[in-house]
Amino acid sequence: MRYLPLSNGDRAAMLEKIGVDSVDALFVDVPESARRSGTVDLPKFAGELEVEAQLNAFADQNISPAKVPFFVGAGAYRHHIPATVDHIIQRSEFLTSYTPYQPEIAQGTLQVLFEFQSQVARLTGMPVANASLYDGSTAAAEGVLMATRVTKRNKAVLSGGLHPHYRETVETLAHAVGIETEACAVAVDNEADVLQHIDANTACVVVQTPNVFGTATDVTEIAKAAQAAGALLIVVVTEVMSLGLLKSPGEMGADVVAVEGQSIGVPLSYGGPYVGLFAAKEKYLRQLPGRLCGETVDADGERGFVLTLSTREQHIRRDKATSNICTNSGLCALAFSIHMSLLGQTGLQRVAKINYAKAHAARDQLVTAGFEVVTPRFFNEFTVKLAKPAIAVVEALAIKNVLGGVPFARLQNEPGFENHLIVAVTETVSDADIATLVATLKEVAQ
């Protein structure tokens, strides 16, 4: 067996050293009723060749986005990832190490985390960021919990442009811990509606920009009004690439920022693993969830990095911890950080502009072709209101080998939004792809 180095001779010698006759004697504490003499009913050992064939058979039944015109977004985006990223994250020293509990032999991981936190802080325009959470949706939920700790209030208001999966994730966790939530009516362009639902018990309002329909919103006034009412403003960003072009949440006055970082460095991978970016104002430092990496010195006075403020965390504080998170998204944070370093401010701005330009070109061509685009201001994603239900339309497009977008109804059954199709256009889309989308959509949807 290629992964098991012990030979039968080794096993016999080791059993002798232990002083038992057989390995069964090591499982003597297992209750008799639960001991199994044979193997469970599953296939036996297989070589690389066979396993590879089985996995490839799964892959063959899927349509790879690389093979077709591809416009699917709504919270996860196909972007080009430089080859360097995947090469570096597969280095043994990064791939096969763990949470840096021993900082003397984990300075590589720790410096990367410090740089990651610094990149996230600058990108979001916030003073502090943590070392990652699972994804954007769980980051949003952690943000809501943190807001209730900070304000000692018990209600969260969720905008009608918040991604429905995010809303459900927040609601699930919030309701389980006894936090009340109020969801605003689904709306393409009405993030400010959250202000109508603030009361004396409101801990936070959660808005998204660009929102699930692609609408970009200046939340500066929402921040002021929410804060004046004693509530925190949590800004959710599901397309981190947008921050190359759009004003940062920090500049607009956000208290907490929860971002899905997948677009930078992390492959689509059917929904995970991704990387949650979490940033906040400095005064909430000791209420942050998750790992934090901090600068210090070693015994020689040399600069070094350690995990810090761990008295917030489960392994020290147990039932008093700010979150139960342990393992987070380290390798995805590394991938994000490498890709972000390769882009730099120059590359990020350039690719962001290309996204903007392609998406607006697609919008213009669709409008010219007679389609109704309902998103007023956007980065790389907009919503088309079709003449018929969008779910059937994307199926018809798929038959013609075009992956044309995400029906809003896939995310939420909401009367009045059955015909809304969310279309994402990134730098990976060619002019020919856009032309194919427009032509095929005319064929199947008009």
């Binding site: 992964y3 098991l4 050293k17 090591l26 499982f27 297992v30 639960a34 193997t39 599953l42 036996k44 590879e52 039944q61 899927n62 349509i63 986005p65 690389a66 196909r78 430089p82 995947d86 570096i88 990064f94 096969t96 190490s97 003397e104 300075q107 410096q111 936190q117 610094s118 802080a121 600058r122 960021a129 811990v177 072009l245 500049e251 899905e260 689509l268 991978s269 059917y270 929904g271 790992r291 210090t296 350690v306 392994h315 020290i316 147990r318 139960n324 998170i325 342990c326 393992t327 998204s329 380290g330 390798l331 490498i338 390769l342 730099g344 401010q345 120059t346 590359g347 330009a357 896939r410």
Partner: protein, 517 residues
């Protein structure tokens, strides 16, 4: 060297260097350590304008976004050669499984097969979008269904919720299912979760997170749950117990079937922390022990890489009683193929909600399934046996020098020592662990479980050869003898030969500096 006033954190572990060791060895002129070069932060470059990607600098008319455009972006960029140097230099400051034994107890640092990595990157698996029409991802759904089948058969449980993103997220999922089940039975008033004193920190943290009151259950002198104490605390207010099995002392809970019976009798559910499932996979099915819910850390038992702290994956197997409450989405199969249930409408809507956006850690599912198919039912059974054999071999080879808190009987996949044997040496568990670094090994888990003084928890895993184990044992024996012989400086100043000396954690926490400014 004495410990006059070592800075301690809340568990008694020193958190700042006690001495500044004078370096008497040869020093390089500029402070580097030979090929191990010091590496500046990317933010310390003078010129931020470079980039390692070649995108055209196009002009756009973004007048529709007036007032929404940013002007403050300041992020350093690296060309490809600069990036390779930066990250490869940093990587060399890390220890890794591929370099040597990484015996972190409870973390299961086993070899990560590279076939897993290859398959996770295949076109059609690694690059598909979670919201593609299900007709275009039938293979992905089939893969998730196959993974679920393996998990169910290996655990003897009827259902699995696969979306949780890590072990602690799985605990959350399990407890939310338990909470929903109680509420459905009109038992929502149950507010207490019983947790043994030896539990992982995530157990009480998760229970408290969802609003339960945590009550601790005592441990017996032989390192197991005190059944009498548990029985006395089980009552109409108890929602669940959370027990790790094999437990964090590396021992199988002999009374587990009785624990499950008592729990069910009291109307509570049995949550099992499956972090140590690797010790019994293929040999013992948790379903046969009376478990209602158990998360499985795919990054432990099924070898997906730890990646410097994630991503993990924590699917939760569920009993018949809890299965209806599993979170959405889930995969269903019918005659024409597979489908995803993503909404409450049209299903018997008892699900407790949603753990996260999309459908869980697909990248980890691919890797874990590759590992399962490679090992098969026979190989997985051998995994458990070799993991347990290796741990017992270490215990047998060291217990004449290092004290064992629970000497009776075999351990499971990890060997636990305490610091009783260090008494009078002036060497602490931390010192001993740091000295291991100078000998080329990652330290074991220290000061956990909390119920054992100065705990040293060693988990070798099944992927270590006897040669590697013998080398490790020789090092620990030599270090133990050095400690007993009074060679204190070897320990107090350790590590001497690592990329960094001991770091000042107290200073880092007192004036936190968390980003470059």
């Amino acid at each position: 060297m004495t410990q006059d006033s070592p800075k301690m954190n809340s568990v008694g572990r020193p958190s700042a260097p006690e001495i500044n060791v004078e370096a008497t060895l040869f020093k390089s002129l500029l402070g580097g350590k030979g090929l191990l070069q010091s590496e500046k932060l990317i933010f310390e470059k003078d010129d931020y304008s470079r980039t390692g990607v070649d995108f055209a600098d196009i002009a756009i008319d973004a007048s529709d976004l007036e007032g929404l455009l940013r002007s403050d972006l300041s992020l350093p960029g690296l060309t490809e050669p600069e990036a390779m140097r930066h990250y490869v230099r940093l990587s060399q400051k890390n220890h890794a499984i591929d370099l040597a034994l990484y015996p972190l107890g409870s973390c299961t640092m086993k070899h990560n097969p590279r076939l897993n990595e290859k398959m996770a990157r295949v076109a059609g698996l690694g690059d598909i979008h979670p919201l593609q029409p299900v007709s275009t991802v039938q293979g992905a759904l089939a893969l998730m269904d196959t993974l679920s089948h393996w998990l169910k058969v290996l655990t003897g449980m009827p259902a699995v919720a696969i979306t949780p993103k890590a072990g602690a997220h799985g605990e959350l999922c399990g407890l939310l299912a338990i909470k929903a089940a109680h509420e459905a039975k009109g038992q929502g008033h149950r507010r207490t979760v019983l947790v043994p004193t030896s539990a992982h920190g995530t157990n009480p943290a998760t229970a408290a997170f969802v609003g339960y009151t945590v009550e601790e259950v005592a441990q017996t002198a032989d390192g197991r749950v005190d059944v009498a104490d548990l029985a006395s605390k089980l009552g109409p207010d108890v929602a669940a117990i959370m027990v790790t099995n094999p437990n964090t002392c590396g021992l199988f809970e002999r009374d587990i079937v009785e624990i499950a019976r008592l729990t069910h009798e009291a109307g509570a559910y049995f949550y099992c922390d499956g972090a140590n499932f690797n010790a019994i996979v293929g040999r013992v099915r948790p379903g046969d022990l009376g478990v209602d819910a158990m998360h499985i850390n795919l990054h432990k038992t099924f070898s997906t890489p730890h990646g410097g702290g994630g991503p993990g994956a924590g699917p939760v197997v569920l009993s018949e009683a809890l299965a209806p409450f599993a979170p959405k989405p889930w995969v269903v199969s019918h005659d024409s193929g597979f489908d995803l249930v993503e909404h409450d409408e049209g299903v018997s809507a008892q699900n407790f909600g949603r753990m996260c956006a999309f459908h869980g850690q697909m990248g980890m599912f691919i890797r874990a399934l590759t590992y399962m198919l490679s090992h098969g039912s026979d190989g997985l059974r051998q995994v458990a046996e070799d993991a347990v054999l290796n741990a017992n071999y270490i215990k047998a080879s060291l217990q004449d020098l290092m004290s064992v808190p629970f000497p009776e009987g075999p351990c499971m996949h990890e060997a636990l020592f305490n610091d009783h044997w260090l008494e009078g040496t002036d060497v602490t568990t931390l010192d001993f662990a740091k000295a291991m670094i100078d000998e080329g090994f990652h330290p074991m888990t220290m000061y956990f479980p909390l119920v054992v003084h100065g705990a040293m928890l060693i988990e070798p895993t099944e992927t270590e050869s006897k040669d590697e184990l013998d080398g490790f044992i020789a090092v620990l024996r030599a270090l133990a003898q050095a400690a007993k012989a009074g060679d204190v400086a070897r320990f107090k100043g350790a590590p001497y030969l690592a990329p960094a000396k001991r770091l000042d954690e107290t200073r880092a926490a007192r004036a936190p500096r968390l980003s470059y400014t």
